[in-house]
Each structure stands twice: as structure tokens, then as C-alpha cells.
């Protein structure tokens, strides 16, 4: 699995902890990494993903339907699942303020065994680390 993930575009290092069942992926400094591809690559290597968390820096924007999203790049953004922390970021929507957040992108449900590649991942904010 380590080699499989390491071959994905934008991936700098992959650390696997067999004891904890944890996989840490560090992206390249200037590289673009796609969490959906990582999820798919992990399943393709024969391992089931229970949860995926991400730490990212970006701008808060509102999408066409008025939902808040974290925009990493002009063509890469993650819609947010509304919670108390995301509400606190609403005032920053459309501003130049950069925020660093940690959030959950995927959690395995009881029914579904494999995540749908076509369904966009939603970001549940767990921690707002920085606003600048």
C-alpha cells in the first residue's frame, strides 16, 4: 500500500503504522494532491479506509448554492458540512483571509463498503488552527 500511495501524484511521503492502522500522507510542497484518488488508491491496494482527515490551508468561499467551502485552488475546493466551527468561518467567505483547518473528509458508513468515487467529499471541520 505504501508504494501504491507513494506513486500518486503530489505525494511526498507515506508513513504507515501497522499497530495503529494509521496512514500519514505528506504532500509535496508545491504539489496538488487529490484525496479522492488517495481513497481509491488505498482501496485498490486491498485495504479498507475507515476515516480520512485532512489539514489544509485555503480560503473560505460560498459555492453556487450558497454552501460554505474551503478553496485550496481555483479548481479544487471542498464543501463543508455545517457545524459550529464552519458557522464561525462564514464571515470570512469571499475574503482574502487564509485559514488553516483540520477536518474529516471521509468516514466509513455501516452500509457502504467502498466509497463512491463520483460523490464529492465533504469537509467536517474539527479544528480551526489559524486565520491570517
Amino acid at each position: 500500500m505504501k508504494q501504491h500511495l507513494g506513486r500518486q501524484s503530489g505525494v511526498q511521503t507515506v508513513e504507515v503504522s501497522l499497530i495503529d492502522g494509521k496512514v500519514d500522507v505528506t504532500p509535496k510542497e508545491d504539489g496538488r494532491i487529490d484525496p479522492v484518488q488517495l481513497l481509491k488508491a488505498t482501496y485498490d491496494s486491498g485495504v479498507s479506509v475507515a476515516e480520512m482527515d485532512m489539514t489544509a490551508r485555503g480560503k473560505i468561499v460560498k459555492d453556487a448554492s450558497g454552501n460554505l467551502a474551503l478553496q485550496i485552488e481555483p479548481n479544487q475546493s471542498f464543501a463543508m458540512t455545517p457545524n459550529n466551527l464552519s458557522s464561525g468561518l462564514e464571515s470570512l467567505a469571499g475574503s482574502a483571509t487564509m485559514v488553516t483547518v483540520r477536518g474529516q473528509l471521509y468516514k466509513k458508513s455501516r452500509e457502504k463498503k467502498k466509497p463512491e468515487a463520483s460523490v464529492p467529499l465533504k469537509l467536517l471541520i474539527l479544528e480551526v488552527q489559524k486565520k491570517e
Binding site: M1, V16, L18, D20, G21, K22, V23, D24, V25, T26, P27, E29, D30, I33, P35, L38, L39, T42, G46, V47, S48, V49, A50, E51, M52, D53, M54, T55, A56, R57, G58, K59, Q71, I72, E73, M98, T100, K108
Partner: protein
């Protein structure tokens, strides 16, 4: 003098640009069925 200020501005810009970049910094997965 202006050229010197411009050069300094460029140097600071180059230093600060990567820091202000938006990006995914880290991804952590909890997996099952790993041997």
C-alpha cells in the same frame, strides 16, 4: 535607490510567497484490514 527598494521587495516576495500558498498540508487515514 528605487531599484534597491524594488529588489528588496522582490526578495521578500519570493520568501513570503510559498508561505502564503493555499495547499493540503497533511492527510491522515485510519485503515482496516492492513497486515
Amino acid at each position: 535607490m528605487n531599484a534597491k527598494k524594488l529588489a528588496l521587495l522582490l526578495v521578500f516576495g519570493c520568501v513570503l510567497a510559498p508561505v502564503s500558498q493555499a495547499q493540503i498540508k497533511h492527510i491522515e487515514m485510519r485503515v482496516e484490514g492492513m497486515t
